[in-house]
């Protein structure tokens, strides 16, 4: 393991421990929602970072089309995978929160619906990547990566239209955050950010290695 990897993972470990302590012990219990509110620290942080991940997919796609460098293509691929993971966790944690609060595992609440649609979009991106090969795949995936992010604002706007059909929607943000809660949230956010960086770095390196192997194989067999 290289030194920078060790440093990143060390940093992440410290942040994780700090996060866990803050979320479960340091942060005060929320008056209305009780203990279950603690999941928000992860849920919201994961949500922010998954948006970042998908924005990186867009950027990587754009840069790949402009420069043709495989680095950008593999970055988009890596970020998409981590983004799908994080976004999936947003949905799961949201569901876990919803059950004791609203009594249901799922509701067609605008936020949840839009997150689900985003998940499907990027899972489709991964499916496209898996089903084409080589430079073709990279180019097609880049196009989808661009279209997907352009679509995200439309997705969120459209999800709000669904409110007319489903029953009352709670505002999950509640009132303003107490200082201790804000601190906990910020630490949690940084933790998730660093987790994203660590995972994406690993996946990116894997992707670039695969590209290098493919090139070597092509050269030796030629």
């Amino acid at each position: 393991m290289r030194r920078t990897d060790a440093l990143w993972i060390g940093f992440l470990s410290v942040l994780m421990l700090l996060s866990l302590w803050m979320v479960f012990l340091y942060a005060p219990t929320e008056r209305i929602m009780g203990q279950v509110q603690r999941i928000f620290y992860f849920h919201v942080a994961l949500s922010f970072v998954s948006f970042l991940a998908f924005a990186v997919v867009f950027l990587g796609s754009l840069q790949y089309l402009r420069t043709g460098s495989e680095f950008w293509d593999e970055l988009a691929a890596a970020s998409a995978e981590v983004g799908v993971l994080f976004n999936g966790l947003v949905i799961v944690t949201g569901s876990i929160w919803a059950r004791p609060t609203w009594g249901v595992w799922w509701t067609w609440d605008p936020q949840l619906t839009a997150t689900l649609i985003m998940q499907l979009m990027y899972m489709a991106y991964m499916a496209l990547r898996a089903s084409a090969e080589g430079e073709r795949q990279a180019r097609l995936a880049a196009v989808l990566g661009i279209v997907s992010l352009v679509n995200v604002p439309l997705v969120f706007f459209s999800a709000r239209l669904l409110r007319g059909i489903s029953p009352v929607v709670f505002t999950r943000r509640g009132s303003g955050l107490e200082p201790a809660m804000l601190e906990t949230f910020l630490v949690s956010l940084v933790t998730m950010l660093v987790l994203y960086v660590v995972l994406t770095r690993v996946r990116l390196r894997l992707g670039l290695a695969a590209v290098a192997v493919a090139r070597l194989r092509a050269e030796t067999l030629a």
Partner: protein, 224 residues
Amino acid sequence: MSRFWALFVKDVRLELRTREILSAMGLMSLVVLVLVSFTIGLNPTVAREIAPGLLWVLLAFSSSVGMGRSFQMERERGAGNGVLASPVDRMTILAAKAASNLLWILIVQAFMLPLFAVLLNVDLTRALPPLVVVIVLGSVGLAIVGTLFAAMTSVARLREALLPIVLFPIAMPLLIACVGATRTILGGGALDLGSAELRLLGAFDIILGAASLLLFETVVEEGL
């Protein structure tokens, strides 16, 4: 402009010879309509509830079947690269192909609407003009984005199977808006041009339509 028409007429002529796309789309629509009607929509009240949504589910599935095949014939005979080799700019190629796909979607819808009204017991007489507007606007968006994705997926390993997987999530804002507008219309309301649904529909058509036209070149860079 004449190149657009040349391509468009070519597609129409091809399709009229074999009618593959129209029959696949029509049968798909019919099968899904009947399937959903007797599995979910037997109860008349339920049928009326699901009618707006079902209309668009039918349109979505049948159009993905049709569009998935729209590049097929050309690919099989290597004609796709022939089109690319001719002095037409890529946006025109996409526009012409999307226009012919739009035509198929609308033709199939024209046949399906009476059946739909009968099976689900929906009264379409007063609703027809605004409904047609929504169907056309929705189909335009679906056709442009769907044609772009059809070109993308036709070169992928999974081919046509991948098209719905990629198209539907992207098309969800469009479908949500269309279902909402359809529900209002079938409920007896008038078509409000300033409503959120129609604004979203317009925004989707414009934004994603433009993006699709611009990105088509990249998709077919290495041939069809």
